[in-house]
């Protein structure tokens, strides 16, 4: 069972989450040319080893998380909220 340490809810089974996708993708602006969008939507590096991905805590706090995980061993190296401001607030709360 992959255990994900949700910053808000704590460590949970991965079955509480829905898998997102490749978190390293930077989506272009809405008016960017077709070519940029094609690359962002359809092409993936598919890394063997440590890589960034998103998970959505659908059965919990509904936060989208950016997780650094190895596709080889499933070990998780870091978990943080995708939303940078949300992340800052959580870090601040934790350091209190």
């Amino acid at each position: 069972m992959i255990r994900i340490n949700c910053p808000y809810c704590g460590e949970r089974d991965h079955s509480e989450f829905t898998y997102g996708g490749d978190a390293s993708i930077k989506y272009p602006s809405l008016d960017a040319p077709e070519k940029e969008w094609t690359e962002a939507i359809f092409f993936r590096k598919n890394i063997y080893g440590k890589q960034l991905e998103t998970w959505h805590h659908t059965s919990g706090c509904r936060m989208w998380l950016e997780v650094e995980r190895s596709t080889q061993t499933h070990e998780i190296f870091s978990v943080k909220a995708c939303h940078s401001e949300l992340n800052k607030i959580i870090q601040k709360e934790k350091s209190k």
Binding site: I2, F42, F43, N46, E53, T71
Partner: protein, 176 residues
């Protein structure tokens, strides 16, 4: 693109399950996809029930699965064949599935000269292997794709040719 090190393929894992061998119980392959379930089962000639269904849903090369899918597959098995409750699972493992962005394979040349690609079969590779061999050999020998595989190339996305029978969209895990 492949010269930059990316392809429209993600590696996911699919678990397979085998039970103890029993005398003949099921003579066909049963497949169903109802209520969000996705499931196949058949009986091997040795007598084991062989079944499986959904991907584990996260990218992996580890070739071993986790418990939530074991539970889901067992539930799906029981839904279609309630007598399976007392049959025992003997072994489960996982294979690496090359899931593509639209659920269809690639059999084509690539931007790198003399590099041909035959991948992205999702989980249909087993059944397709023999036939795909012929078409791939033909492509390599004749440098031109056969008409059946004409659209099965890396350029189809920019061309808007979506070979997405399921209509799930550009997310590999949804084509499981």
């Amino acid at each position: 693109m492949v010269d930059l090190g990316s392809l429209p393929i993600e590696s996911h894992k699919l678990q397979a399950f085998v039970t103890e061998s029993i005398k003949p119980l099921l003579n066909h392959v049963v497949v169903y996809g109802v209520g969000g379930a996705h499931f196949y089962i058949s009986q091997s000639n040795k007598g084991s029930m062989v079944f499986g269904g959904d991907l584990d849903w996260y990218k992996s090369y580890a070739q071993r699965g986790n418990l939530p899918i074991v539970q889901d597959s067992a539930e799906a098995a029981m839904a279609i064949l309630p007598c399976l409750g007392r049959i025992r699972l003997l072994r489960h493992w996982a294979g690496v599935m090359d899931m593509s962005m639209d659920g269809s394979f690639f059999m084509c040349k690539t931007p790198i000269s003399n590099l041909y690609l035959n991948a992205g079969w999702n989980y249909g590779g087993f059944k397709a292997s023999p036939a795909s061999g012929w078409y791939f050999a033909d492509l390599i020998a004749n440098e031109q794709p056969h008409k059946y595989i004409q659209n099965h190339n890396l350029e189809r996305f920019e061309k808007g040719i979506n070979l997405d029978e399921r209509g799930a969209g550009p997310d590999p895990k949804l084509h499981g």
